[in-house]
């Protein structure tokens, strides 16, 4: 029977895949004396990946193999994030959880009340109603220095009169930053133009329209914008208009400048806090949630030459980098 053969072959293939996976899984868990940190990452994009790599690299380097990490990725689905959170909570061999970005933190914080939760790439954890006196949450935020960013825009690009703010109105971290950006821009008498995008498919039209109306583009640390950075920078480059981002990786992807957060460094800083909690026995509620460092301006050398921008002398550190093409 033809039908039956197909079914059987599918079953065999699946069984093989499953066998390989289980085998691989066993090898990973051989080192049973090690402390295991479960990592819950919200989605895959360069900024969050960097936050994960910075953390894992630091932990591996400083723990001499006594701490292992297991990575879980919710791939943007809240429901997956909850399934993973429940799993991490239930697994006794997992001693701590590293949550990357706000949705991951909310999912894990809703089930896990005792194991330490380490965070990174979360902008405003205090607004989520989960930080209290005896909290089990500690780590770093990725809130950027917005007044500083706007000031450097004003110095480096003095001709700019209208700036389009590109963000996803359905990300709470972005909305929080946009409110401050709007206020700061008005204070420097620059007209802000709000451009909301909610899916990657809308990006090309929205950016094209923004570029026709504004002198420059400015984006907060937005997950959607971070994912769509290549196309946004391409369109801005075509229109010969500057694009200012809030995460430093964007400069390599073709943004003109960023005075933002280096997510690899965020991961490293959170890993340092993790080591204090897991190795030195510090309590999470004694460790304040530290803001990320953002005092260096990253500038894309090729692009600033091409746009004919002369960088004025300013007090901030400037780092020139090239696009990775």
């Amino acid at each position: 029977m033809k039908n039956k053969n197909i079914v059987i072959s599918i079953l065999i293939i699946s069984a093989i895949v499953v066998a390989i996976i289980i085998n691989k899984n066993r090898q990973k868990n051989d080192n049973s004396s090690a402390i295991i940190i479960g990592i819950l990452q919200t989605a895959s994009h360069p900024a969050l990946d960097a936050a994960r790599e910075g953390f894992v690299d630091t932990i591996t380097k400083n723990s001499n193999g006594t701490i292992n990490c297991i990575v879980y990725n919710a791939e943007g689905s809240m429901i997956n994030a909850h399934a993973i959170a429940q799993r991490l909570h239930a697994d006794d061999s997992i001693k701590a959880i590293y949550a990357i970005a706000t949705p991951a933190l909310q999912a894990i914080a809703s089930v896990e009340k005792t194991k330490p939760i380490l965070i990174a790439a979360v902008s405003n954890p205090h607004d989520l109603g989960i930080i209290h006196e005896k909290t089990n949450i500690c780590g770093t935020t990725d809130m950027i220095d917005i007044p500083g960013t706007i000031k450097s825009i004003k110095t480096i690009l003095p001709y700019v009169a209208t700036i389009a703010l590109i963000y996803n109105p359905s990300e709470s971290n972005s909305v929080a930053q946009i409110t401050i950006m709007d206020k700061e821009l008005r204070r420097h008498s620059i007209t802000p133009l709000h451009v909301g995008i909610t899916t990657e498919i809308e990006v090309p039209q929205a950016i094209a329209s923004a570029l026709s109306k504004a002198d420059a583009l400015l984006a907060p640390t937005d997950n959607l914008v971070a994912s769509a950075m290549p196309i946004i920078s391409h369109l801005a480059h075509q229109a010969q208009k500057p694009l200012i981002a809030s995460h430093n990786d964007a400069v390599k992807q073709g943004a003109l400048m960023a005075r933002g957060v280096d997510y690899y460094e965020c991961g490293k800083a959170t890993a340092g806090i993790a080591l204090q909690v897991l190795c030195n026995g510090k309590k999470p509620y004694n460790l304040p949630i530290a803001p990320a460092k953002s005092d260096t301006i990253m500038i894309n050398k090729q692009l600033s030459d091409e746009l004919g921008i002369t960088i004025a002398k300013i007090s901030d550190t400037i780092m020139y980098i090239n696009s990775n093409k």
């Binding site: 079953l11 791939e75 809240m78 429901i79 949705p103 109603g129 709470s172």
Partner: protein, 284 residues
């Protein structure tokens, strides 16, 4: 032992909540044969309204009632677009879901925390970590109510919309009225599921409704390997899909493979069932 129980409990709890959406999809796809995509929007609408109403100190029971009505209104919109403006059924659903995304953002923003308000899960003190104790009887009761309703005269007329609309005309009934009514029921149920989900996790996020359509459809298809009538198979299908997602994470491979593994597990499930039915057919 305890830890496995916690994982299984989580799977069953999430499965039970999403089984309400599976019931809704059953009513639209299987009874009136109208592929309704607006469920993704109404799930979010239910969640957004629940967050808003609870943080404005409304009691959860009244909120649930209002939310079911609001969800029904979303269904009404889909139905009217289809029957009055003659929009294709898929487009009507897409339009309503798209519109509801903005409405949900306006209602509750992208993220709203309930912050210790009294919810459905507080009615029996001390079960906050055993939400299944409340969910299981509540969902079963809901299932029985709808099962009973589908056997009333109105329920049979719903079935006629899908099977034989001409019969409705012969009876002097308007098929459009029953299409709209069924869509209202389905979307009201989905909004209810969204509202319960928000109480379950303690916060509303605009992203929680993303993918709910796939969850409901996959749950429905899996349930049909157990039985094609409206009944407990719908709950089992929804729970099974959550189990598949959880199993994917249990394998603990490179996370980039997760979706492929989920897909393979679904194929295996359905293939296994098909295979065994071939077997029984040959015997008889």
């Amino acid at each position: 032992m305890l830890s496995e129980w916690l994982i299984i409990q989580g799977i069953v709890e999430r499965g039970l909540i999403f089984s309400i959406s599976v019931m809704a999809i059953y009513i639209t796809s299987r009874i009136i044969r109208f592929d309704d995509l607006s469920v993704e929007g109404s799930f979010g609408l239910g969640g957004a309204l629940m967050a808003l109403l609870l943080t404005h100190n409304m009691t959860w029971l009244l909120a649930l009632a209002l939310i079911t009505i609001a969800g029904a209104c979303a269904g009404l919109a889909t139905g009217l677009l289809h029957t009055k403006l003659k929009l294709n059924n898929l487009i009507s659903g897409i339009v309503v879901t798209t519109a509801l995304f903005s409405i949900n953002l306006k209602i509750a923003g992208s993220n709203m925390v309930l912050g210790g308000k009294t919810t459905l899960f507080n009615i029996i003190p001390g079960v906050i970590n055993m939400k299944i104790v409340i969910l299981l009887p509540a969902i079963c009761a809901l299932l029985f109510i709808i099962k009973w309703f589908l056997n009333t005269e109105c329920g049979f007329l719903f079935k006629a919309v899908g099977d034989n609309p001409q019969m409705l005309t012969n009876l002097g009934k308007n098929a459009h009225t029953y299409t709209i009514a069924a869509l209202m029921l389905a979307n009201g149920l989905t909004a209810l599921a969204g509202a319960i989900f928000v109480q379950y996790v303690g916060y509303f996020s605009i992203w929680s409704s993303v993918g709910i359509l796939i969850i409901a459809l996959a749950g429905l298809i899996l349930s049909e390997t157990f039985g094609r009538t409206f009944g407990f198979s719908l709950l089992i299908g929804a729970i099974l899909y959550q189990a598949i997602i959880a199993a994917t994470f249990e394998f603990n491979v490179d996370p980039e493979w997760n979706k492929l593994i989920t897909a393979l597990l679904i194929i295996v499930m359905i293939a296994l069932k098909k295979h065994s039915s071939i077997f029984t057919q040959r015997q008889s």
